[in-house]
Symmetry: C2
């Protein structure tokens, strides 16, 4: 039972990065159902190389979206740092909707697609905790409806994912209007 080397060769590492770049671009533009081979093609590698690094599409997606996941976290923290909690919450809603609108695939991966928690679950939970805290403060400030629950926001984010449109710009516009409506629904 020989030990595998933990350190990738330089060319292998380079290919890995190119694969992730390609995956991110294609997932964002086309959604989660792009063929694995197209990602490989775009990255300039053979299918075998892709499968060697990421045995399954979920593994690839998990890796590709950690970046976006941390972006979500950052957005929430930023909102939490806002002196006006209601204003912070509004910013969070707007920015999260925009982020999701820019990434066709991220939304589906985030909400339904991957039932079993891809490793991002931890970050997700942390973000949710911060979000709950932000909501509590906003509620205290009297601007957020007292009967608001966190699930309402999650529901809205999931619904935001239903805004299909061929062009990214159209999706962005729809998403912005939707965020505005969501905010109106939440305010006291």
């Amino acid at each position: 039972m020989g030990r595998l080397p933990q350190t990738l060769r330089s060319d292998a590492l380079d290919n890995r990065d190119r694969i992730l770049d390609a995956a991110r671009a294609l997932f964002a533009a086309e959604g989660m159902d792009v063929p694995m081979r197209e990602i490989a093609r775009r990255a300039g590698v053979g299918p075998a190389t892709l499968y060697r690094r990421f045995p399954t599409k979920q593994a690839l997606a998990t890796e590709a979206f950690t970046e976006q996941m941390y972006a979500c976290h950052a957005i929430v923290e930023e909102g939490l740092a806002d002196p006006d909690p209601w204003h912070g919450l509004c910013l969070v809603i707007e920015k999260l909707c925009e982020l999701h609108a820019r990434n066709r695939g991220f939304t589906t991966a985030f909400t339904s697609a991957f039932p079993h928690a891809m490793d991002l679950a931890a970050v997700r939970e942390q973000a949710l905790t911060s979000l709950a805290e932000l909501a509590r403060r906003a509620k205290d400030s009297g601007r957020l409806r007292p009967d608001f629950v966190l699930d309402d926001l999650i529901l809205m984010l999931m619904a935001n994912g239903g805004l299909h449109a061929t062009s990214t710009n159209a999706r962005l516009a729809a998403s912005r209007r939707f965020a505005a409506l969501a905010i109106r629904a939440f305010q006291a």
Copy 2:
């Protein structure tokens, strides 16, 4: 160039009905991406028979959803008949959301999937006209926000389609909560 008979034989007509039933059931439950063959299997016919009646999936969907389309129309008319226009509009929103939640496929067919207007366009337009009238009255009554536009409602319906869930019941629950939020967003 022989003339084709305009009248279907009795067994053919029977099969046609069974195909439509199967299609409606499967489209509602599984969404628009069920294989044609599964519809045929469920209807108890061969693939050839299915393709003979409906050369394309869109043709089948168009026929299968006319019923739902008229249901939409009826819902809007019912809302229009309500003495309280705001209450009527709320009912319309709730019922439309529920209808879409019950039919996984209808939403996608209705919103984005079929770019070129399936024959239902006429009914759709008529429903939209009635809806605009209802909105006008609701606005006059002062309960609906003055800056409401019809597109906002369409946006919400599209977003409602993003509420994925494995079970129909879960989807229904989510849809109801969503409808309530939408109504809150719209009221003055």
